[in-house]
């Protein structure tokens, strides 16, 4: 008889390391796939798998049985962690691009940095294409061209406050789009 999610999580809380190994063997492939779909990068997906299982082991009490199955919980956690990594990576790209514009003599991105950044960006670019025009424009300006809020506002011909709120909305939708992509393929 397979142990229930409730039993597995109760065992985790009781300090039963065998329970974590059982959950890993059962659900790690799904967690890895979920991360891989967002990131398109095996190395990043492995980091997400580690984050997810360390989180489960450290805080089993954060899993709410009433909210869904353990599988769903872990996949949602993986998706959030993966999206966070993409966002973080995009911010890093934007920062670097801005920096290079300002200091053109400095050393350019290494080939491996460019590949990693490119893989992450490709996944998000596909999702960005699904955004409404106004929101897509601010995301492209802010993240792919590395403009500041003020520069985005000038380039788009909108007030700075509007640029900020559109970007916030766009990021929220971006996450939803990535979520939907994940759920459709999981």
């Amino acid at each position: 008889m397979e142990p229930t999610d409730a039993l597995l999580v109760a065992r985790l809380a009781a300090g039963d390391d065998h329970a974590l190994a059982e959950i890993f063997d059962r659900l790690a492939p799904a967690v890895y796939s979920a991360a891989l779909r967002v990131l398109g990068d095996g190395s990043g997906a492995q980091d997400v798998v580690q984050d997810v299982f360390v989180e489960l082991w450290s805080h089993p009490d954060r899993y709410d049985l009433a909210a869904g199955t353990l599988r769903t919980y872990l996949m949602v956690l993986a998706r959030h962690r993966a999206v966070d990594r993409v966002r973080s990576e995009l911010r890093r790209i934007a920062r670097q691009e801005r920096h290079h514009r300002l200091t053109p003599t400095e050393r350019p991105l290494s080939p491996s940095d460019q590949v990693a950044a490119g893989e992450a960006a490709d996944v998000v670019r596909a999702a960005v294409r699904l955004l409404p025009d106004g929101q897509r424009r601010v995301v492209e300006l802010a993240y792919f061209q590395g403009l500041s809020y003020r520069e985005v506002a000038l380039a788009a011909g909108i007030p700075e406050g509007t640029a900020k709120s559109r970007l916030r909305l766009a990021l929220a939708k971006l996450e939803t789009v990535l979520d939907r992509q994940l759920l459709e393929t999981s």
Partner: protein
């Protein structure tokens, strides 16, 4: 396989080991969530005594005549506990005669003596006896010294936990007799009780004839529970052959011989027969 069927994902080599190692680093295996506050054994006994005394104070006069355990009514059961405390006093004073005295037989006189007395006299006698135990414990020359009473040999701290366990058990006997809901000790108390029971389980299993060597993973769920690898007739490094998972309070009732394995919500892996033997051994820990 059809073209629509997703290919099974193959995890990268070494990922499992890496993830599990990072997890154990974040929280050591065996540590519970949430962590349970530690409680000194004397505090556990004191709290159990207070809870028991609180119940005695809440009883109506007619409740003292209700049959509760063996041939004892509530008053007789309290008398039995006065007798136990008196034997513990003798034990703490170094009297070897109580080392192997029978738990029920040696206290029968104290139980019978209560018949016809006013309940508040019995209650006051019991409170004095429990308080005396605490006084003697506080002045004990060596708190780590092994104590021997009623066939059990335990360090003083463990003996106090066993006494707290017994008080909780009989508190619940009385609650059941008067039709009140069962009480559950707090997590710190349960943790002490389960630590004691898990520690004594190998001896009980050997005594009741569980064939060894056998390595058992005992997982008690809920606040105050935990995880133990119990080695029966072998070394602690033997691979786990039997896994038993159950609720911590249910397990304590089993150890008190107040619940049967069939009444527990059990999850067993490995040989079912061996697991039943281990559970029977746990129930044999009860003194009654």
């Amino acid at each position: 396989m059809s073209a629509d069927t997703p290919q099974p994902v193959v995890l990268p080599e070494g990922l499992r080991e890496r993830v599990l190692a990072a997890s154990w680093q974040a929280r050591t295996a065996g540590h519970t969530v949430p962590q349970v506050a530690e409680m000194p054994p004397a505090e556990a006994f004191s709290r159990a005594a207070d809870a028991f005394y609180g119940l005695l104070c809440a009883l109506a006069e007619r409740d003292w005549r209700l049959p509760v355990l063996r041939d004892l009514d509530v008053q007789g059961l309290v008398g039995h506990l006065i007798g136990v405390e008196e034997d513990v006093h003798r034990c703490l004073a170094g009297d070897p005669d109580v080392a192997d005295a029978d738990h029920v037989g040696s206290t029968q006189l104290a139980a019978v003596r209560q018949a016809g007395r006013a309940p508040d006299q019995t209650r006051a006698d019991w409170r004095r006896a429990a308080d005396r135990t605490l006084e003697l414990v506080q002045t004990a020359a060596d708190p780590r010294a092994e104590m021997a009473v009623h066939g059990i040999r335990l360090p003083l701290g463990a003996l106090l936990i066993a006494r707290a366990f017994e008080l909780w058990t009989h508190e619940n006997d009385i609650l059941r007799a008067v039709g009140m809901p069962a009480s559950v000790p707090d997590a710190s108390m349960l943790r002490l009780m389960t630590e004691l029971a898990a520690g004594l389980l190998p001896h009980a299993a050997t005594r009741t004839g569980v064939p060894g060597p056998l390595s058992v993973r005992l997982v008690l769920t809920g606040p105050g529970g935990g995880t133990w690898d119990v080695a029966i007739g072998g070394g602690p490094s033997d691979p786990v052959a039997v896994g038993i998972v159950t609720d911590v309070v249910g397990f304590c009732r089993l150890v008190a011989n107040r619940a049967t394995p069939a009444e527990l919500d059990l999850y067993v892996t490995g040989d079912r027969g061996q697991a039943e033997g281990v559970l029977a051994a746990a129930a044999a820990l009860a003194l009654d």
